[in-house]
Symmetry: C2
Subunit: 110 residues, 2 copies
DNA sequence: GTATAATATCTTGTTATGCAAGATAATTTG
DNA sequence: CAAATTATCTTGCATAACAAGATATTATAC
């Protein structure tokens, strides 16, 4: 999947996944690939900066967890503001996709 | 509509509009807004560079027309290669949108 | 007839963000 | 102990949409 198409959608995807439950970054990379049926891939070098942006905006909140065995993990949960943002982003996505489809369907169908 | 979401879709939109018929840049700006039901807007400062990229790639071909009255217009038509590219871009868009929707629907629906 | 608006194309610089490529560190496995 | 795996983080690059202008012709208003 080309890079440019993804732009502006990763925050929506992240908030959607974090609304279901708390997750840590490395886990999210796999969740995106799985949840999209292998069609969408996001690198960790992409993911972490997005999480920081969301954190700065107050849409997610982190929590370190150091298990008895294993590498420390930084879990993120969605905040109340994050849920509101998710509603906005999803509406924006639906409207955008509808706009593109409107052009494709009206013109291509002739 | 936010800027980032549009990225990667404008070439698809342009080729779709040009597949229907020859058009000139200034006309396309209005056609996009109308064809999307007012949901999608593209500035002329965005449009022209996209047309040049498409022309360089051989996907569209320009033709100047100087009418008896009025400002000269540069009409673009889609080429055979452009039609192939359009098929690719549309498939890519459909798959991408399906990937996003798969994540939204599976997670949001619980 | 001159000024203003509308039509139309084009250019420059800014900005945002996804990603490659690495660095770091702990843990597990061979 | 060496190598692979898990996990987070950083730097620099590339791309493309846009704002803000420049330019030029034609149409309209005064």
């Amino acid at each position: 999947m080309k890079r440019e198409l993804k732009r502006g959608t990763i925050e929506l995807v992240l908030l959607t996944l974090l609304e279901e439950r708390e997750r840590y970054g490395y886990e999210i990379v796999a969740a995106i690939e799985e949840g999209s049926g292998g069609r969408l891939e996001v690198r960790d070098g992409t993911l972490y900066p997005v999480l920081y942006r969301l954190e700065e905006s107050g849409f997610v909140a982190p929590r370190w967890e150091t298990p008895e065995r294993g590498v420390p993990r930084k879990y993120y949960r969605i905040t109340a503001e994050g849920k509101e943002e998710l509603v906005r982003l999803e509406a924006e996505w639906r409207e955008f996709a509808a706009a593109i489809d409107a052009i494709l369907d009206s013109e291509g169908g002739q």
